[in-house]
């Protein structure tokens, strides 16, 4: 029995190696390259290593947070709490450091606070069957409130250098935070693309009923995903506090929308089942590039937001036209 047509179709679609295929799917790469080219050609300062590293550094906070958000979004969920959790973990780590715990412990406290708030969301979403949107919105408000309550609204500052270096130090010329972020992307990329857990994350997001019928521990998968997102927000809090040598309860307000935007620009669907860490990396870098370009070109502040919006629109528009052309 020879379904000829199907055979032909498959060859056309899947004859290439996997990298080509990934790029093929990530048509947003066109937008990314376009923006980079434009900046490279019009702004002499753009293609300096100091500048490129500064983009990486500036992207590190949103980057680690967006990685966690990618896991959540691939399951079809959403985590609106990340910005507040960054602030809350940051001030908790800061309070601990000011009480003279060792730096390692301070870092772990930051990450643990994030993971804890992630577990709260996980519990509500899996066991109580509540909507991730509402739960994480409630945690957005609660974590922010807690950050104010524990600090009395004050800025916590003056941390040991070892801690500050996490966010603001360099190894050679490379910012530590950028290295950490790249590490997070690498590990997360492997986990999501190559492991059984990653496959389960996609399955849960692609068709939750089918995943359950196939014996996948849906609840556990969802729970882990929110904990990852929380823990990475905690790490983000540590990076931010270290970078500024201070932790403010108001920090990272609105970060969640930017992180989610990066994930969606990177090709994920809020309906779940779609998305990749590579895509998110592109999304994060596109946002980083736009901000960098606006600074380098010294765009008038009134115009900044408009142009940010227009460029994101343009980049995704290219993407969608591109997909249309390919016959998506």
């Amino acid at each position: 029995m020879e379904p000829v047509q199907a055979q032909v179709t498959q060859d056309r679609r899947f004859g290439f190696r996997s990298f080509t295929r990934a790029v093929n799917e990530l048509t947003i790469v066109v937008g990314f390259v376009g923006i980079s080219l434009y900046l490279a050609l019009t702004t002499p300062a753009f293609l300096t290593s100091a500048n490129l590293l500064s983009i990486l550094l500036a992207s590190s906070l949103i980057g680690v947070v967006a990685v966690g958000e990618t896991f959540v979004i691939v399951t079809g969920g959403i985590d609106l709490s990340v910005g507040s959790v960054v602030a809350f973990s940051g001030v908790m780590a800061g309070l601990a450091l000011n009480a003279h715990v060792p730096v390692v412990v301070g870092v772990m406290i930051g990450i643990a606070i994030g993971a804890l708030s992630g577990s709260f969301i996980a519990f509500a979403v899996t066991t109580l069957n509540m909507s991730p949107f509402i739960v994480s919105l409630a945690v957005l408000a609660m974590a922010r409130g807690l950050a104010f309550i524990v600090t009395n609204g004050n800025t916590i500052f003056s941390f040991p250098d070892a801690f500050d270096n996490i966010g603001g130090g360099n190894i050679g010329a490379i910012p530590v935070a950028a290295l950490i972020t790249l590490g997070v992307f690498l590990v997360a990329g492997l986990v999501l693309a190559r492991t059984v857990f990653g496959a389960e994350v996609y399955a849960v997001g692609g068709n939750r009923d089918a995943a359950r019928l196939a014996g996948i521990p849906v609840g556990r998968t969802l729970a882990i995903v929110y904990i990852i997102s929380g823990a990475l927000a905690g790490l983000g809090g540590v990076i931010l506090a270290g970078r500024l040598d201070s932790a403010q309860p108001i920090a990272a307000t609105g970060l969640e929308l930017n992180a989610i935007a990066a994930v969606v620009i990177g090709g994920a669907s809020l309906f779940g089942g779609k998305g990749s860490i590579l895509g998110t990396l592109l999304g994060v870098l596109i946002i980083g590039l736009i901000n960098n370009g606006l600074t380098l070109k010294n765009v008038q502040p009134f115009w900044v937001q408009f142009i940010q919006g227009a460029v994101i629109f343009g980049a995704v528009l290219i993407d969608s036209l591109n997909q249309k052309r390919r016959g998506g």
């Binding site: 500064s54 983009i55 500036a58 906070l61 004050n154 500052f157 108001i250 307000t253 502040p301």
Partner: protein, 311 residues
């Protein structure tokens, strides 16, 4: 006791915490007053709603720290209609006589003095006012951000007229957000290796700048010809600490605690004392604080509020 309603614009910034603490301590000093305390989270509509709720509770007086001088007018008029006296703090209501007293920070003057400070430093460095300056504005659309920017920009342009070597290499909005200031500065430092000074819309901006300079390994002690002058506004605890450590050059401190206490005193006078002593409008003084002056008697008597409120 008389109920006093307070609505501050936000608590997102130590300055407003200082203001709240000032009102609280002021009220505590008057046993016949009791406080209802709200914060509008930076949103004019929320503030209007909260003030309406306060009016509905028949407060005896309102202390308002408006988000916007115009937007607050309708509820101030509403309060007037109900006979509730209104006292404004830091920012007034744009209806003149509708408030009993308006205690104000002169934001334009702060911006102007920031420009002057930078000009002084450059003159010390180069013998004349020249060099490359970055202007990191505060949050667009806020009175503090906009007026300080206006004060700075006007003065800076005036200075430029007389001093052609004075350049503005970048003007960006850092939104009173330390992280945003950090990112912008990192990128500006990568693009320009000859920045002499950075003006900041507030101290949180300045803190981000200081950290970015350190991160980029561009920090040189004050006095070094390569030192980048950083000046902020407010006088937060972190800024004071940074000035003591010689990382940041100066802040233009305005004392919200004493300002707010004064406002409560006026309320008390209005309700139970001598109304005639209450001025309709008053600029609350501010003070330039540098490493040289931070421990001076002048600074002590003005009050290093940033240090006070966290203890």
């Amino acid at each position: 006791a008389d109920l006093i309603g307070l609505s501050v614009a936000t608590l997102a910034n130590p300055f407003f915490q200082g203001m709240t603490k000032g009102v609280q301590s002021g009220i505590a000093a008057h046993p016949d007053l009791k406080l209802i305390n709200t914060s509008a989270n930076g949103d004019a509509n929320t503030q209007t709603n909260q003030v309406t709720d306060l009016i509905n509770q028949h407060v005896a007086a309102l202390i308002l720290n408006p988000i916007n001088a115009n937007s607050i007018v309708p509820v101030v008029k509403e309060a007037n209609k109900k006979g509730i006296p209104v006292f404004t703090l830091d920012r007034g209501a744009a209806c003149g006589g509708c408030q009993v007293n308006f205690l104000e920070t002169d934001n334009k003057a702060l911006g102007k003095e920031g420009a002057d400070f930078i000009a002084d430093q450059l003159k010390q460095r180069y013998g004349s006012v020249k060099g490359n300056v970055v202007d990191l504005e505060g949050l667009l659309g806020t009175t503090a951000g906009d007026d300080r920017e206006r004060g700075f920009a006007t003065e800076f342009e005036a200075l430029q007229k007389d001093n052609p070597g004075l350049k503005l290499v970048a003007r960006q909005a850092a939104d009173f957000d330390a992280d945003k200031a950090f990112n912008i500065t990192t990128q500006l430092l990568a693009a320009h290796n000859d920045i002499d000074a950075v003006f900041n819309g507030n101290d949180d901006n300045a803190v981000g700048v200081v950290r970015a300079i350190r991160q980029a390994n561009r920090f040189k002690p004050i006095g070094d010809p390569k030192h980048i002058v950083v000046i902020g506004i407010d006088g937060t605890e972190q800024a004071l600490s940074s000035i003591r450590r010689g990382q940041m050059d100066a802040t233009l401190s305005q004392n919200p605690v004493t300002m707010a206490q004064q406002s409560v005193n006026y309320v008390e006078a209005y309700l139970h004392g001598d109304k005639s002593k209450i001025p309709a409008h008053q600029f609350w003084p501010h003070l330039l604080i540098t490493k040289a002056t931070i421990d001076s008697a002048a600074a002590k008597s003005y009050g290093l509020w940033g240090d006070e409120i966290s203890h």
